[in-house]
Amino acid sequence: MFTGSMLFTTFVILLGAGGVYLLLPHRHGQAKTQTVYIAGAVLAGLGLVGFLSFLSAPADLDLSQLDKLLSAVFFYSFSASALGCGVMTVTSRNPIYSALWFAGVVLSTAGLFLLAGAQFLAAGTVIVYAGAIIVTFLFVIMLAQMEGKAVYDRSARTPGAAVLTCFLLLGALVVCLVDTRFAPVGANTPGQPRNPQTFLPRGRELAEVHQLHPTNLQRIALAHALRSTSSIYTESKQEKPDVAGLGESLYADHLLTVELAGSLLFAALIAAVAITNPKRPVRPGDPEPIGTSV
């Protein structure tokens, strides 16, 4: 579309990729010199600054209003900390620090969710990722390294290929974003009157239209296929509160998906129980097992 900006984008992405490649741990776990790290940090920082130039303030940004100013400040600080923590996650040589930086990424993302009004998603992310999964990571990492750090923990596996793939993906994303910036906006923005050209109909609305279909057979088939389930909007076209809306759409619109995920998890649970060693632990006060006494 705009060849100039495309070239600039490519250049910025290459800068970022080069920087991250230099920052990544050595392939065989050896230490890199400080110059390399400084060069990598400078390149990656330049790439980040280049990306900042793509950003333009939102159209309704009015810095005289304190709440808008505050949310803008929070948005940029959460985004910056998410990106920074992300880079630190992949480039740290100590897996403990990697896990902690990852916790930082999760927390910043939760903050962004909160700013977007997705409160349940924010709390869920913190509980599931920061509260459970990363703690388990830390647990395993700390237990696994009782006798000093292992080489495989300090080394990066194929850093070049990884950086190349990731930044190709990033390039594709940026090109898509630049394209959509000029596309018509405002499909299904909550709170706004719906734009009939870009309006994405939900199952229930399709069913309502086809209630008036002339052929009776088709109407019955459609009514069965598109059961009037739920909607995130109430009767008066207001958004439902987060949790109620989420619950209804999960258990009405996406019931099959939820059931499938549940069955998969249940199968995994049974497998975990089956492959765990069922040997009974020896506890204080138990009679001593036969054959172990010296």
């Binding site: 709390a123 869920g124 509260g131 830390l138």
Partner: protein
């Protein structure tokens, strides 16, 4: 602008009051311990100035924490060693953002809550509470000390295990009240009955897991002095140790608030107070009622400390995984079934 100033003021007041309360709770705890062991306890700090009941003892305790030598051992992982107490205290502090300290609603003069209209209130408290384990696990690992490390491992296993019954035990109350917002749950109890009467099993499970989550006796295995010389905070001294201590007491306060709000009607006093009273005086009375209830729960928690002996570690794990989680599941399914039946046939 006025709104922002109000919020900042509220945050400052809540932080100041809760920190001050923690100092005096330590005094109360020492007094309760003394009564339980038939001795006198702290009784003279301040008597020179004519102040009774050793009311200056918290100041003396605080000064001691601040003035002691702050030892940082040579072989610790320094950044994490310093970060851990900060995480402990921050995680304990920010949970207060959604706890209602009194009546909350659009027609109230003052909203006694830092962040009103958070419709996931209780989830937020749990999300923040689940971050507290970082303080413990990092402190134990960064100390580079086997006792501290074992303490941290024990503690994180305990915290993760008891988070599940804790979360599941409140779901019954959430189902009945139909909201995750703490003030809505209080309103429901005001209009009907206190939660402890409709969810007795849920209350017991919640309270027991709350003990485990706050590392209070009989679940204080992470710092069992006899075997682990203090557990995860063995290597901490002076104010860094004090911060862990402070964080623990803040957790006790949060848990007491949650207990009162979820199961004992919050600011509700049957036949005297109800949601329609919105004047300033009734608001202050309601805050007083809530505070008295919270104080009673805290006293009960301290009383338990000197009543029950400590669990063995495998007993602790068995209790969580083999008794409390199944019971919480049964409670949840039964509540869901009953609520569904009532909604279908009686309402």
């Amino acid at each position: 602008m006025l709104l922002v100033i109000g919020i900042v003021l509220k945050i400052l007041i809540v932080v100041a009051i809760s920190q001050g309360t923690v100092a005096y709770l330590i005094l109360v705890e020492r007094k309760v311990a003394a009564y339980a062991q038939d001795r006198i306890g702290p009784n003279r700090a301040g008597s020179e100035f004519g102040i009774p009941f050793a009311l200056l003892q918290p100041l003396a305790d605080g000064a001691k924490m601040l003035l002691k030598e702050d030892v940082v051992p040579k072989y610790v992982t320094k950044p994490l060693y310093i970060l851990a107490p900060w995480i402990a205290i921050t995680a304990a502090m920010i949970g207060f953002a959604v706890v209602p300290f009194g009546p909350v609603g659009p027609d109230q003069i003052i909203n006694f809550q830092i962040a009103p209209n958070v419709n996931i209130g209780i989830l937020y408290v749990f999300a923040v509470g689940s971050l507290a384990v970082y303080g413990v696990i990092l402190a134990g690992w960064a100390s580079n000390n086997k006792y501290a490390f074992i303490g941290a491992l024990r503690s994180s296993a305990q915290l993760i295990s008891y988070e599940m019954p804790l979360g599941m035990s409140i779901l019954g109350m959430v189902l009945i009240a139909g909201s995750l917002d703490l003030s809505t749950i209080v309103d429901w109890q005001d209009r009907h009955v206190w939660g402890v009467f409709v969810q007795p099993l849920g209350f017991i499970l919640f309270f027991v897991s709350a003990f485990a989550e706050t590392n209070r006796l009989p679940f204080d295995l992470p710092e069992s002095e006899q075997e682990l010389v203090g557990g995860f905070h063995t290597e901490y001294s002076a104010m860094k140790f004090g911060m862990f201590f402070l964080g623990e007491y803040l957790h006790v306060i949060t848990v007491s608030y949650l207990t009162v709000i979820l199961f004992f009607g919050g600011w509700d006093l049957p036949y005297f107070l109800d949601a329609e009273q919105t004047g300033l005086i009734s608001a202050i009375v309601k805050v007083g009622v809530l505070l008295i209830k919270v104080g009673l729960v805290i006293l009960f928690i301290m009383w338990i400390r000197w009543t029950l002996p400590r669990f063995r570690y495998d007993q602790l794990m068995d209790l969580a995984w083999k008794s409390m989680i199944p019971l919480a599941l049964v409670n949840l399914v039964a509540t869901a079934a009953i609520v569904q039946l009532i909604r279908t046939y009686w309402v």
